[in-house]
């Protein structure tokens, strides 16, 4: 992995404010256009941003998980089952989803995180498939391959979020909370510990950082965020099935993370904002959309190794070099 971990993506305070202003403008787009569909895309961007944010926390300790969709699925099913079977409110289902996903991550994290690099990628891939297959074996819980339809909409304090713009506001707040959490981790003592483990686990261990505990903590936080995302996703879309959480969903989160910037704070958000609406721009060319998507992916990897979030820095460096 790249070594420039500690360098913040936004060099100057001015750049930072500009970035925040840009994000706020982007977030307001659906209100300008007034289109329900744009609100829907906004919701999808928020959900993708949250899930990818969770994946980023795991990436900060140097691990790339292909089981992220399974944790989104654990959260989704936890919440759906609590709400539909036990008639608990969504406000119980949401935190429960995060707790259950985090707990599962804690339990399997210890043996799992001994593996590194490609091996970790592969085992998490196998785990994601295992999750899907096992869920299919228990139709009583998962609805089997027909899934569970008619999941109740999000309800907060007796108010049902029926319209897309209402859900959008809620997901924006959730996304802001996740990003704030990421920012706190990043700029706190924990962030420095994460970075040290990412850069060189052996060195980190010898300088007194408990590598295993640090990685486990990152894995639990990341997976808990995924679980919460799953809960919101299930209640918004209204349908869950084990197939929804197949490894292709994990792959799409990984693609967003890497495109946005694997180690940058804003990477997951930038990746989600860029890639979630992208197919919509390409839909005009139904046949070619996946090809164009693939080409863009390879081009970003090739020419922006720091991801899109590293773009300003890269431009700044180019300018310096020219001088």
């Amino acid at each position: 992995m790249s070594t420039s971990v500690s360098a913040p993506p936004m060099a100057s305070a001015f750049g930072g404010w500009l970035f925040v202003a840009l994000l706020a403008t982007l977030a307001a787009v659906p209100w300008f256009t007034g289109s329900v569909f744009h609100f829907h895309i906004g919701i999808m961007v928020c959900l993708a941003g949250m899930a990818t944010g969770g994946l980023a926390v795991i990436a900060w300790v140097g691990q790339l998980s292909l089981a992220h969709a399974a944790f989104v699925g654990i959260g989704a099913y936890t919440s759906v089952l609590l709400v539909t079977r036990l008639d608990l409110p969504f406000l119980v289902g949401l935190p429960a989803a995060a707790v259950v996903a985090g707990a599962v991550a804690y339990i399997i994290g210890a043996p799992l995180l001994r593996l590194r690099g490609v091996y970790f990628v592969l085992i998490t891939f196998a785990l994601n498939e295992l999750f899907r297959l096992v869920m299919l074996e228990f139709p009583g819980i998962s609805g089997g391959s027909s899934g569970i339809a008619g999941v109740p909409k999000i309800q907060l304090f007796g108010i049902t979020l029926a319209a897309q713009w209402q859900v959008y506001i809620f997901t924006l707040i959730c996304l802001a909370v996740v990003m704030a959490l990421l920012w706190l981790i990043r700029n706190g003592q924990l962030g420095r510990r994460f970075a040290a483990v990412e850069e060189n686990p052996a060195l980190a261990e010898s300088s007194g950082i408990p590598t295993a505990r640090t990685q486990s903590l990152a894995f639990v936080i990341g997976c808990a965020i995924a679980g919460a995302t799953g809960s919101i996703m299930a209640h918004y879309v209204g349908f869950v099935s084990p197939e929804t959480f197949a490894f292709q969903l994990s792959v799409s989160y990984v693609i967003m993370l890497v495109t946005g910037g694997r180690l940058a704070l804003w990477g997951p958000l930038v990746g989600a904002v860029f890639l979630t609406p992208l197919p919509e721009f390409l839909r005009g060319a139904v046949e070619y959309q996946h090809i164009i998507y693939g080409v863009i992916l390879i081009a970003v990897l090739r020419f922006l190794p720091q991801g899109l979030a590293g773009l300003p820095e890269q431009i700044a460096r180019l300018r310096r070099d020219q001088r």
Partner: protein
């Protein structure tokens, strides 16, 4: 009952060898390039289509079509190495994700060119060989025979030619190989080209068995993944052992428990092996 066990073992060994054909190119590409190639299945698919074009459209005999497929696939692999993978040599994860993009491009290009419907591939032989109660379909026996010949030829190439030795040196240790004069600029494209060619030949060879459509790449990719994880990344003998094991597990569990149990057992085994021996059954310790 004992008849069913014997039959299942025969089925399993045949299936395992087919899976080895599907996986061997994948493990070679990882060994040389350090790339987890998600586009592997798509090269299998392309091989099936190339063989189909050779046999159905150009009217070539099957062996010639297969040879042409292999030659074209080596070129394609070298080209892909040059355009897509070369920039990511130092970065396994980026290379892996680039291969995902490549897989998307290849599959949907095939969809546009050939359409989604399965294409008909003429059967080469039909009927069964019988050994008492035991049955071996002739089509599988033929595929198996040709597959084993190709695998042996590949083995001889790897063990007893200069290029093969250079490739093996690369699989073992790239820096040392470079010091000893292995020319990376030739060996990298060649390595991926061979990996792609093996996938494509497997696709062409199995086209009469498993059919041809733009979506046939998913199965070989999944099987290659499992075989390579079980056997150890980059270990060719490990892949052979793991493929036979996978074939036997699938066949026996499917015959005596159920098909869905077979998949769960397989993935559970993968997880257990990775936890106990991360480098796989015969892989080198590295994790």
């Amino acid at each position: 009952m004992s008849f069913l066990i014997a039959q299942s073992i025969i089925n399993g060994v045949i299936l395992g060898t087919l899976y080895l054909m599907m996986a061997i190119g994948f493990t070679l590409a990882f060994g040389v390039m350090r790339i987890v190639n998600f586009a592997h299945g798509e090269f299998y698919m392309i091989g099936a289509f190339l063989a189909l074009i050779g046999v159905n459209w150009l009217g070539l005999p099957f062996p010639l079509a297969l040879a042409l497929t292999a030659a074209l696939a080596i070129l394609l692999g070298a080209l892909v190495e040059r355009i897509v993978f070369r920039p990511f040599r130092a970065d396994e994860l980026s290379g892996m994700i680039a291969s995902l993009g490549l897989a998307m491009i290849l599959q949907h290009a095939a969809l546009i060119i050939f359409g989604p419907d399965p294409q008909s591939f003429p059967a080469l032989v039909s009927g069964v060989y019988r050994l008492g109660d035991l049955i071996v379909p002739q089509s599988r026996a033929l595929t198996l025979g040709v597959g084993v010949v190709i695998l042996l030829a590949f083995y001889v190439f790897l063990m007893h030619t200069r290029m093969g030795r250079a490739l093996r040196a690369l699989v073992q240790d790239q820096e040392v190989a470079a010091i000893y004069g292995v020319r990376l600029e030739i060996m990298y494209p060649l390595g991926l080209g061979l990996g792609v060619a093996l996938a494509a030949v497997a696709g062409g060879l199995m086209a009469p068995l498993f059919g041809v459509s733009p979506f046939i790449g998913a199965t070989p990719l999944l099987k290659a993944f499992i075989v390579v994880i079980l056997g150890g990344l980059g270990s060719i003998p490990g892949a052979a052992l793991a493929a036979i094991l996978l074939g036997l597990i699938e066949s026996l569990t499917s015959s005596f428990v159920s098909a869905s149990a077979a998949d769960i057992v397989t993935f559970a085994l993968v997880v257990v092996v990775l936890l106990i021996r991360p480098a796989g059954l015969l892989g080198r310790g590295e994790a």
